[in-house]
């Protein structure tokens, strides 16, 4: 991944976790908050990451936003406070000056989503995700881990096929995968999704979503690549 610059506005623990992740991937991160207690939460990251910068600033101040250095290197502007109205004002203001850049915002109350969509902001709504998780665990009593209840035994992983790979242009049934593993879904280059059968040909740029036992993952990767 090419190095990018990310601006994170406000937020506490979520901002910390995200900044850390982005820094570990080799990106440059700026964290902006008007609140000293927030800045203190993220201050620890400075010790290990030289490409991390803390800025004490009220991001609803128009003149400051206007002078932000938003260039091609910017991956996204991410707004994470727990107050929707603050997020909205920051997003709105950023959008006034930067029409093309990607903006993501936390939306705490789902009822406010339409306001952000209007600004062409990608919205993050953990509350509705959690609602769905809890709902599904109530409906299907045993499934508490929504995505993969057997995660200690089974892996769901993705393999991207390149031209040089040994499985490229081969028919699925000619590829001998370990017992009890299966290619569940193939995502084609144009993001269309197919469920493969024995005669399906694996092509360049396919993404294979594979279900397998934990211990077989490495072996499968070697067979396909």
């Amino acid at each position: 991944m090419r190095k990018k610059t990310f601006f994170i506005f406000e937020g506490k623990n979520l901002a910390y976790a995200l900044a850390k992740k982005l820094l570990l991937l080799g990106n440059e991160v700026y964290y902006i908050s008007k609140d000293y207690s927030n800045l203190e939460v993220l201050d620890g990251l400075k010790a290990y990451h030289s490409s991390f910068e803390l800025i004490h600033q009220d991001a609803t101040e128009s003149s400051w936003v206007q002078n932000l250095d938003i260039n091609k290197q910017v991956g996204a502007l991410i707004v994470l406070s727990e107050e929707d109205s603050l997020n909205f004002v920051v997003c709105w203001l950023l959008r006034q000056f930067f029409t093309k850049v990607r903006i993501l915002s936390l939306v705490n109350n789902t009822e406010n989503e339409f306001m952000f969509e209007e600004l062409d902001v990608d919205i993050l709504t953990p509350t509705s995700w959690m609602e769905k998780l809890i709902e599904s665990s109530i409906n299907y009593e045993n499934i508490t881990d929504f995505f993969n209840p057997y995660m200690d035994k089974i892996s769901i992983f993705e393999v991207q096929i390149e031209e040089k790979d040994s499985s490229c242009n081969k028919i699925l049934k000619d590829i001998a995968l370990p017992k009890d593993s299966i290619i569940g879904i193939i995502v084609k280059y144009d993001d269309s999704i197919t469920v493969p059968h024995g005669d399906t040909i694996i092509e360049k740029d396919d993404k294979l979503i594979i279900f397998a036992k934990k211990e077989d993952v490495q072996k499968i990767k070697e067979i396909l690549k």
Binding site: T60, E61, S62, S63, E83, D84, S85, L86, F88, V89, W92, L93, Q96, N109, E111, N112, F114, M115, E118
Partner: protein
């Protein structure tokens, strides 16, 4: 404002400013005061407020659907939070109600963004400062 014509006015935020405004306007107009906290109506109820009060969570835009915006002539948005005021004013505009909206700006430095969004605003602090300044000028 036209004389003798009764207007339907909504006031969002029932703090000191909102409640004083409501008391004054309700003498001639039909007034609904909205606040997210029921307790904030104690003040106007003690002053024998004759209009209506409505408890609605103004942090969430769903609130706007609960308020009878369509029939309103004028909306004052006077909560102590500038961000909330901005979002509410913007939301009412977006919902395409043809109503006159006047928003309170608490921090004079935030005036700029309200202006940028073409919102009608008033800024009590700035007004007070101007008033004090003028009084000083008059004394000299």
């Amino acid at each position: 404002m036209q004389k003798n014509k009764m207007k339907f006015i909504i006031i969002i935020g029932c703090g000191r400013l909102g409640s004083e405004l409501a008391m004054k306007l309700s003498k001639k107009h039909s007034v609904v005061v909205v606040d997210k906290d029921e307790r904030s109506f104690t003040r106007i109820n003690n002053m024998n407020f004759t209009g209506f009060t409505l408890t609605v969570d103004t942090n969430d835009m769903d609130a706007l659907k609960r308020i009878k915006l369509k029939s309103a002539d004028l909306v004052y948005i006077v909560t102590p939070n500038d961000n909330t005021n901005f979002m509410l004013a913007y939301g009412i505009k977006k919902l395409n109600y043809d109503i006159k909206i006047i928003a309170r700006v608490n921090d004079p430095q935030k005036k700029e963004i309200f202006k940028k969004a073409n919102m009608e605003l008033f800024c009590p602090i700035e007004n007070s400062v101007n008033q004090l300044f003028e009084e000083l000028e008059d004394d000299e």
